[in-house]
Amino acid sequence: MKIVACIKYSFDVSEVKVDPATKELRLTGVPQRVGVIDKNVLETAVTLKEATGATVHGLTLAPAGAREAFREAMAMGLDDLTIIDSADLAAAGPAVTAMILATAVQKLGDVTLVVCGEASDDGVSYQIPPRIAERLGWPLLGYARNITLTGETITADRDLDSGMQRVEGNLPLVLTVTQETNTPRRPTLMDALKAKKKPVAVWQVAADLGLTPEQLQARASVTRTAQEGIVIKRKQQMFQGEDMAALANQLLDALVVERVVTE
């Protein structure tokens, strides 16, 4: 049995700043690495591998030069990694990304389970897993916890806003996990050593997946960018003086006026 773990080379969102003038996100210089949620994806896939004897294959759409960033992912227990070179794809939208990933899953062959994060750290579109499922014609089992695989049947709890829903599904299917699904393992030194010998393949979208620029163009979504952002104008009131009690009263009065506190 073959499991594919879709992982993303994401921006470290805690390092993203907003340009005060244009309200655009400043992405230059922001470090990229395998995302936080992708560790949960890896943990899920590797746990299932250990329980069933399956093989786990990492799949990512990333710059070929980023392969070093996947060292820890490999050490966590992937058998191999396929990087689809994103060099020529400036900011592929979710539809294009899903098309590429689904085509790659088909090319890997005999895959019966695809594990994804519910949404990526940086893009947060939530669209990739359902679109992959749609393309493959497989069911989607989203927000899964307590996942068990027996034979061809997966059982899991779906973590929904309204509560937990216990579901059962038959392979092949697409599974998404959340950051609450599990606690990712910390690979040992031996894991890291073994990972050194694991194969990494780099595929080109056109040459290896047979997807032409026209095909991708047709899937490219229309995007409208709004950059108003949310601007919070602070009142910048300053209370100054020596008498702390008087200052506290002034502050309280101001908060009452602003209805931050009620009398």
Binding site: T188, L189, A192, L193
Partner: protein
């Protein structure tokens, strides 16, 4: 249990060099580095003196991520509101290799590590070596990331804070008086401003300042190096003196930066990084035991450093020591003997290097670093003399000696000054 020919602890200049040379000679080498990438944990100037790098990686500046070729070295004495600077410039831009290059360690260390990997070494970043494995006084491997790993020889290259040998009972702790703390900021400025402000011809040229004085009365010095789009500005001060002064390292750096001379150079820049790190003062008389059964210590883990007031050399010293150690290890491999006696060749090889010779040459310089007057009195004194010599004032002018005597006030006796001059002479002149 997995066994390697050699394990290198730390992927700084020393560790990467050892790994590179050993792997190149066909040894199975694994390098374990605590940072997520090499250089990510590092604090350094960083001015890289080319000589030894060029021997190891000919024309390295063409492919390695260097920032600017250092075509000018200056030493600046900072008085209260004055400065006296001595500038040296190599005005022929075709002189390669340049004496030094400025580098950012977060970029340069990965390049070094890559050379080692390309030679066949196996780099494992993101793991801290927690302890050495020792059997009957012989180092047999390391413990990291929950696993033991064995090797014929362990190269300890973990930098200044080196704890592993002490922990294993193989070495004493530091003497606090021999340790300084370096604090550094990286200050961003547009490339063009740096090029113009420091009178460089192109964005590939840069300069380096060593500064004496204005470090809050604490023995130490300051530095300012030009990178492509940033300046590296920092101070290195003695830890015991800093402790006595009850001041924080960043206060000393702030004070240094607020000096009008430095302030003009960093003006308009934005601090993008702050870091601090201990630094041993080095010195040939402080070199510890460099080897033992199954291990060698290289670079600043072996407290190897050269500070002669004018330049602070740690990286090239680290590389030189690692190259000497690698040579000894390869000889040990021939004999199949990694004992203390066999690895003793490391010390002999190291003593034959230019770096070691320089350490011997400047051994008297260390007394200077202890001389408070160098930092507290002389910068103002030199400034005062200069002021008297240059200025036209409503009082009779003076020749140098008179100006000097007048500026000595009560802070310095002639006898003391003569003694200091003799010390400076021994340290730097003859």
């Amino acid at each position: 249990m997995e066994k390697f020919d050699a394990i290198v602890v730390g992927a700084g200049p020393a560790g990467a060099t050892a790994a590179y040379l050993l792997a190149q000679a066909g040894m199975q080498v694994v390098v374990i580095e605590r940072g997520a990438t090499p250089g990510s944990k590092n604090v350094s100037g960083a001015l890289l003196f080319s000589q030894i790098y060029n021997e190891l990686f000919p024309n390295f500046w063409e492919s390695a991520p260097v920032e600017r070729a250092i075509v000018g070295h200056s030493i600046a004495f900072l008085g209260q509101e004055t400065s006296v600077t001595l500038d040296y410039r190599d005005l022929d831009p075709t002189h390669t290799p340049h004496n030094a290059y400025s580098v950012l360690r977060a970029c340069f260390d990965p390049w070094m590590a890559q050379q080692a990997e390309d030679a066949g070494a196996m780099l494992l970043p993101g793991y801290t070596v927690e302890r050495l494995l020792v059997e009957n006084g012989r180092v047999t491997g390391i413990h990291a990331g929950g696993d033991d790993l064995l090797a014929d020889v362990v190269v300890v290259a973990e930098g200044t804070r080196s704890q592993l040998l002490k922990q294993a009972g193989l070495r004493d702790d530091f003497y606090a008086g021999d340790v300084s703390i370096g604090v550094k900021e990286v200050i961003a400025l547009p490339e063009e401003i740096i090029t113009n402000r420091f009178q460089c011809l192109t964005a590939d040229e840069g300069v380096a300042y060593t500064c004496v004085g204005h470090t809050g009365g604490v023995e130490g010095g300051g530095f300012l190096y030009t990178n492509k789009e940033t300046l590296s500005v920092g101070v290195v001060v003695k830890i015991d003196a800093l402790y006595k002064s009850q001041r924080q390292p960043h206060e000393i750096l702030d004070e240094f930066k607020s000096h009008p001379f430095i302030n003009r150079l960093v003006h308009g820049g934005k601090v993008v990084e702050y870091s601090a790190q201990a630094i041993h003062r080095g010195g040939v008389h402080l070199i510890p035991q460099l080897y033992g059964d199954g291990y060698v210590v290289v670079g600043s883990a072996a407290r190897l450093l050269l500070n002669n007031v004018m330049t602070l050399r740690g990286m090239d010293v680290a590389v030189a020591s690692a190259a000497a150690a690698a040579k000894a290890i390869l000889a040990a491999r021939e004999k199949g003997d990694y004992s203390r006696a066999s690895l003793a060749a490391y010390e002999q090889f190291f003593k034959q290097t230019d770096v070691y010779q320089d350490m011997v040459t400047f051994k008297e310089t260390y007394a200077l670093l202890e001389n408070k007057r160098l930092f507290n009195v002389y910068p103002d004194l030199i400034s005062g003399v200069m002021d008297d010599m240059f200025s036209v004032k409503a009082r009779p002018g003076k020749k140098a000696y008179r100006a000097l005597r007048d500026n000595m006030h009560d802070e310095l006796t002639l006898w003391q000054m003569l003694k200091d001059m003799a010390q400076i002479g021994r340290g730097l002149v003859r």
